[in-house]
């Protein structure tokens, strides 16, 4: 069975390998020092692969030892993780949706929608309250960022109303 450390180790090796691939493609130029732009990234990449390998081996060894001692602890290690991932992915999708909406819908509307959808997604029950929180919250954030701090948030649809 895959332990967390095993997965972590393999993931590190994978990230390190991808990073190294790009690190070796960095351009060299006459303005370079002896290390060059790729010097340290290569060191980091190899270190990551090395440490990932150590972690993987650690995981395998400790699992062997655990099997000898016949513990059943890890059985439950991944129970319910799939469902958890799914729920987290839902929130992530809301965030990504916001990124795409904000430039077209404008800040005020998008942030109200974001508040509404997120609160509902996270299990807010009272529909009337959700709606009022979304509207008031959006107005509060808009006043804070756009009016008080003068941040140039996307105005989108409301551009014609100069909001």
């Amino acid at each position: 069975m895959l332990t967390r450390d095993f997965v972590g180790g393999v993931a590190s090796i994978a990230i390190g390998a991808v990073y190294l691939f790009f690190a070796y493609q960095l351009r060299t130029s006459a303005l370079d020092d002896s290390m060059g732009p790729g010097g340290l990234p290569r060191v980091y990449g190899w270190l990551l692969i090395g440490l990932g390998a150590i972690l993987t081996i650690q995981a395998i060894v400790s699992r062997r030892m655990a099997v000898a001692g016949a513990t059943t602890d890890e059985k439950g290690e991944w129970d319910g993780q799939g469902r958890k991932l799914l729920f987290a992915a839902g929130l992530l999708a809301i965030g990504v949706g916001y990124i795409f909406l904000v430039e077209t819908l404008g800040y005020l509307i998008s942030v109200a929608v974001l508040l509404l959808v997120t609160a509902l997604y996270l299990g807010a029950g009272n529909k009337g309250r959700v709606l009022s929180v979304a509207v008031l919250g959006a107005i509060f954030l808009w006043v804070m960022f756009v009016i008080v701090l003068g941040v140039r948030m996307p105005s989108g649809l409301l551009a014609s109303l100069s909001l």
């Binding site: 351009r27 060299t28 130029s29 006459a30 303005l31």
Partner: protein, 317 residues
């Protein structure tokens, strides 16, 4: 307390300016936005804000400043290139916009903009610690010839770096050019003797020069500076390197002639304004007005030369 005076005098000038707007000739739009990629308080930002205080009456329009940071100017260039060419929006140009265009290949480059006019050339000078043994540029070059020089440039892939690499080539010495994260970092390394020389704008080191902690060795400008008439140029010292760190404006492509004409007239007038003159000369900026036609050629040449340098050294393809 005379500083207070200065501010109230400036405020009075703005008020007087407000009155003058009514009489000035009609500029095509009411409000002109000057965009900079530098964050508030940065070099270009201070330049624009100072300029906007004096420019309005001469131009006949309100002048406001906007900071569009991000991507070292890439974002500002993109915005400008897509803006209407009606004279309502301009971008403060410094060599940075050319370096960014060349180094990061953004969607919109400096070639997608039309240079308008130039205002200033910031003199770049070579300086050393007052405690060091170097009295002239030749001493420094000789030191590098005998052993190994260590010279400082404020930023990687910057005009200063390019100037020092050219100086190295012209003098045939092998010095290490150490890049930093800004002029301040480098100044500390010059003051503590880690570097023999640094290159920077007079403005940045003014206070140290007055306090006698730094000594100027040469200027990269084409002529001697009014503020330091005894300071030789690098060219006079026998190395043919001239650096022109320009400060001007550029707009979207296809600027109408009346807009260009209005700016050419207003720029010359504002540069001659005694109060503004006092302010910019105090900040060691050298007025160097370039009309539209010259500025377009200037930027083109500058861009080609920089691209050649970056290609020759292998930084870009």
């Amino acid at each position: 307390m005379h500083k207070l005076y200065f501010v109230s005098a400036a405020a009075a000038a703005v008020l007087a300016g407000g009155l003058a707007v009514a009489q000035a000739q009609e500029y095509p739009v009411d409000t002109v936005t000057l965009v900079t990629h530098s964050s508030p308080g940065g070099g270009s930002d201070v330049f624009l804000r100072e300029l906007s205080r004096y420019l309005s009456p001469y131009l006949g329009a309100n002048v406001i400043v906007e900071n569009i940071s991000g991507g070292s100017g890439a974002k500002a260039m993109a915005q400008l290139a897509q803006a209407p060419a009606d004279g309502s929006i301009f971008y403060a140009t410094t060599p940075t916009f050319i370096y960014t265009s060349l180094l990061s290949e953004p969607e919109y480059k400096y070639t997608d903009l039309e240079p308008l006019v130039n205002f200033f050339i910031d003199p770049e000078v070579i300086y050393t610690s007052a405690k060091s043994e170097f009295k002239t540029l030749e001493d420094v070059i000789q030191y590098a010839r005998d052993g190994r020089g260590q010279w400082g440039a404020a930023n990687p892939a910057s005009l200063e770096r390019q100037a020092l690499e050219q100086l190295k080539a012209a003098s045939g010495v092998n010095a290490a050019v150490v890049t930093h994260e800004g002029g301040g970092d480098m100044m500390i390394n010059v003051l503590n003797g880690t570097l023999q020389i640094g290159v920077g704008e007079v403005q940045e080191i003014q206070s140290q020069i007055e306090a006698g902690e730094l000594r100027l060795l040469a200027t990269f400008s084409d002529q001697r500076l009014d503020a330091f008439p005894d300071l030789p140029t690098v060219k006079e010292s026998g190395y043919d390197v001239v650096v022109r760190k320009f400060r001007g404006l550029a707009g979207p492509k296809g600027l109408p002639d009346d807009v260009v004409a209005a700016w050419e007239a207003a720029t010359q007038k504002v540069l001659a304004d005694p109060k503004y003159k006092e302010a910019y000369e105090g900040a060691n900026l050298r007025a160097e007005f370039m009309p539209h036609v010259d500025y377009v050629t200037f930027i083109e040449t500058f861009g080609t030369e920089t691209a050649d340098f970056l290609k020759k050294t292998g930084v870009i393809e």
